[in-house]
Amino acid sequence: MIDATPARDGLPSARRPKDLLYSEGFRAAAYQIALAAAVVFIGLFLYQNVVENLQRQNIATGFGFLKEVSQFEIGETLINYSARDTYARALLVGLLNTLSVSAAGIVLATIIGFSVGIARVSNNWPLQRIATGYVEIVRNVPVILQVIFWAAVTRNLPAPRQALDLWGLGFLSNRGMTFATPVADPAHGWMLLALVAGIVLAAVGDRWARRHREATGKHVDMLWPSVAVIIGLPLIVWLAFGAPHLISFPERKGFSFVGGYTISPEFVALMTGISLYASGFIAEIVRAGIEATPKGQVEAARSIALRPRFIMRYVVLPQALRVIVPPLTSQYVSLIKNSSIAVVVGYPDLVNIGNTVMNQTGQAVEAIAVMMTVYLIISVVTSLLMNTYNRLVAIKER
């Protein structure tokens, strides 16, 4: 702001209009306006070009195509879909496939990553070396090479007729992994319900145990009761329904198998590739998290005679998780993004289907915009969740 105070003590006033150019505030404003103008100008220029180019080349624009009939089939769908559905639904199928392969990949990567990460800090020398070697290799070979490698492996599995028998429970062939599954039975729905009930009950039990401990000082171990209730309830339901034990075993028929459930080789290759790749990074995150809890914390806990289990549960884990969870989430996000290389192995994920849509309709701009937006939403939602988590668990400081 310009203050019109007259000069005092015969000193020159720094506030003459010509000095405006030297004013920090004015300069800052000028730079910003210039930058904003440049951004707007470039944006307009690009937009203008796109519009002109599309017009000149007579390319259709707009998202109207999403409502058109797709006229192509998709190999793996989680929802009903046929060639008579719209492009929008085809893309939805792709999105769900992206999410399902990512979910499976995340579970696998987490299990492997945590195991290897713990092995990395084990004081058993050979185990530590194996873990280190694994991490180095898996992290440093491009994920796409790993996926292509696993695709080659799955394709070179024997044909269905010579499929590998998985101990009578299923088959492994170049058509994928086919499992025996229980024949659908009304009991299953109830068992699922029982499982949920069991989990809820276990949680309630845990709370009760804590209250009990706080009220009486008696520590009740709820680990085994929890396990029992979570496994037991569905089991009881199953028995109550007369233990329906019909299992649909896959059988070779026609080109492939009937019965059971088949996971496609593309899914297996993609999931294996991206989750092994991520597991290397997760292992490092876990290791860092474990090492991040200062030694002094454990010593202090020991000096108040806490037992190892309690030290783990009340001192080490809460602190390690704060370190582990944020980078872990970004690994999950990058695993989801990596699933987009599905297109090289032919798994029908969002990008693969988007690609087909792009070719069918020729509307590259719109199709790519759809893909980018979806991934952006996934990233933004995750990072919002992550920020909330960080705020909730942040260690309060001055």
Partner: protein, 319 residues
């Protein structure tokens, strides 16, 4: 700027032609990186027409996904990459199609020992195909019409696609029928273990595409194609073109630029058609070079013969 492709090409000194990266018979680089194939020859023909030198062409290998953006954006001048001419592409993609240079349809390559003899046997099969191809839609229709099911395995990368079929991931590989013999001949370990299902199940007219809005350039494409048809019809081939120059048939004379100024009207030299036939050949020459009985990708001409012989090739008169 819409009318200046020809001028730009002349100024550049070469034609940029988008082709398939590896489709034996149509377009593929040999181990020395030299391109050859049916569609490649049509690119040569365009170059011959413009420059009188069939080699003034540069090939740009394009995946099926990249082919339309490449032509739309002007990265290439002409697209000769197994493009099926359809109304949708003509309009929504802002393209113009030359007269079809190859009539084909969806075909299926299957393993002999699977005992498949026609499409009806494919119920429940896993079928490998490329994304965004007309094939993808045709297959959907073929199976829907017969009330059959199949599992599409859709792979963009052609190598990966063929690999998926050859290793047995799929029971059938589907592509334009014309493309399958190439796969069979080159990519399979033992070509005799594989057969092409007989019959054609859809219309797949392959044509060259140019950007909409440049009529001069579009005209040139059309007439390059017609010139190869007409040359065959008139019996003018690579072998006899020089003798035919002295033919007294006015049609032949017009074709070869001995009389008239067709070239000037098209914006190229009057010997343009002569150059095509001399350096590349007429339709039959081109066809036989790549699909003839001696080539690795032998293909019957089927509909790809002159209208006079009951085929679909019909060159418009060149007066």
């Amino acid at each position: 700027n819409s009318g200046d492709t020809l001028a730009a090409v002349k100024a550049r000194g070469e034609v940029l032609c988008g082709v398939h990266p590896a489709r034996h018979g149509f377009a593929a680089p040999d181990s020395q990186g030299k391109w050859s194939g049916f569609e490649v020859d049509f690119c040569h023909a365009v170059a011959a027409a413009i420059f009188g030198d069939a080699n003034k062409v540069r090939f740009v290998a394009l995946s099926s996904q990249q082919r339309f953006p490449a032509i739309q954006s002007g990265e290439i001048d002409v697209l000769a990459r197994n493009v099926t001419a359809t109304l949708g592409r003509d309009t929504a993609l802002g393209l113009n199609f030359s007269p079809p240079i190859f009539y084909t349809g969806t075909g299926f390559l299957v393993r002999k020992d699977d005992g498949i003899t026609n499409v009806e046997d494919l119920d429940g099969a896993a079928i490998c195909m490329a994304p965004g191809s007309t094939t993808e839609r045709n297959v959907a229709q073929i199976f829907a019409a017969r009330g059959m099911k199949y599992t599409p395995v859709v792979i963009e990368n052609n190598k990966q696609l063929v690999d998926a079929y050859v290793t047995g991931r799929c029971d059938a590989l589907t592509k334009d029928k014309a493309a399958l013999p190439g796969v069979r001949a080159v990519d399979t370990e033992n070509p005799d273990d594989h057969v092409l299902l007989p019959g054609i199940y859809s219309k797949e007219p392959l044509a060259m595409a140019v950007r909409q809005g440049d009529d001069q350039w579009y005209d040139l494409m059309k007439w390059v194609v017609y010139a190869t048809f007409n040359a065959e019809e008139m019996g003018v081939g690579q072998a006899n073109v020089d003798e035919m120059k002295s033919s007294t048939d006015p049609d032949v004379q017009t074709l070869l630029g001995v009389i008239g100024d067709n070239g000037t009207k098209l914006g190229v030299s009057n010997t343009w058609a002569y150059d095509i036939v001399k350096q590349v050949g007429n339709y039959k020459d081109i066809y036989m070079r790549h699909f003839g009985p001696d080539s690795p990708v032998a293909l019957d001409r089927e509909q790809n013969v002159l209208w006079t012989e009951g085929g679909l090739l019909y060159g418009l008169p060149m007066q």
